[in-house]
Symmetry: C2
Subunit: 168 residues, 2 copies
């Protein structure tokens, strides 16, 4: 399931492209700079839009790396503009998509260390389902909510992205 | 993976209990009625807190039912108070936890119909990863964001809930 779950999380990052386009259209129509949205927050002690996207990217990148036995590539997380953020997403997607299904063969046996849990490890499956998936969707939904709260016309289908429905 | 993924989504619903407790503590300290939070929204054309929780419950219940070959039990979604909402979560968790791992044996071969995609079906794996998981975490994160935006002291660990870390 590792390949399938991480592929779906990678698709969730790709869905961001449509939100960023709508953010730009909204700010152009309303005549304010898109950087206002990039640095908006839902509460003063929550992180801003750029951080939420970086964080979602980090969890995708880390899962693809650690669960396939690689060291997670270092991304600087120093983006300040929407185009830098697009490049960051693109770099993350490219890395995640470079990992092939056979590379996850030993994912269940791996132990993962997290910077915020010093001295501890978590098994591959628990890492995927208890850490990776909830964090990715937490940060993506928070990013979406920042745009939506500020009037950008994103909708649920922009969040969900493509789904493989077929004729009944 | 169906049992594991749905179990984790069910745990995510259980994590709500701590948020509801903190919402009550916050409103007691600030001397306003908790129903204000239950009916708060992040944007005028978004749904309120109660709906977000009901919707997360619905996606858990539906996945547990359809992927195990059962008809999804009908829950009325008519809750208006925090205690009614607690009961709704409890009923959903009880149903999801009543489904055993062997009952998901044919999940991959199942075709699921959704009310918002008439005339279409989606296969079990795509339903789980493209519909169930993103929707559950979307609605839970939106519920969390409504509380957080309104000053309730919920934190990321309340969102993530228990994780199976062990000593390194």
């Amino acid at each position: 399931m590792y390949y399938q779950v991480i592929s779906q999380c990678t698709q969730a990052l790709k869905n961001l492209e449509a939100w960023l386009d709508k953010a730009e259209q909204h700010t152009a129509a309303k005549k304010f700079d898109v950087s206002v949205l990039m640095t908006s927050r839902l509460a003063p002690d929550m992180k801003d839009f750029i951080y939420q996207v970086q964080s979602a990217c980090d969890y995708v990148k880390a899962a693809a790396a650690w669960l396939s036995g690689q060291t997670s590539p270092k991304h600087e997380d120093n983006e300040r503009t929407i185009d830098e953020l697009r490049a960051h997403i693109g770099k993350t997607v490219a890395f995640a998509e470079s990992v092939t299904e056979p590379q996850y063969a030993s994912a269940s046996e791996r132990k993962v260390t997290l910077s915020w849990a010093p001295g501890k490890v978590i098994g591959g499956e628990d890492y995927l389902l208890q850490v990776t998936v909830p964090n990715i969707f937490f940060h993506l939904t928070t990013a979406y909510a920042i745009l939506r709260h500020n009037g950008v016309d994103v909708g649920k289908m922009d969040f969900l992205g493509p789904m493989k429905f077929v004729d009944a």
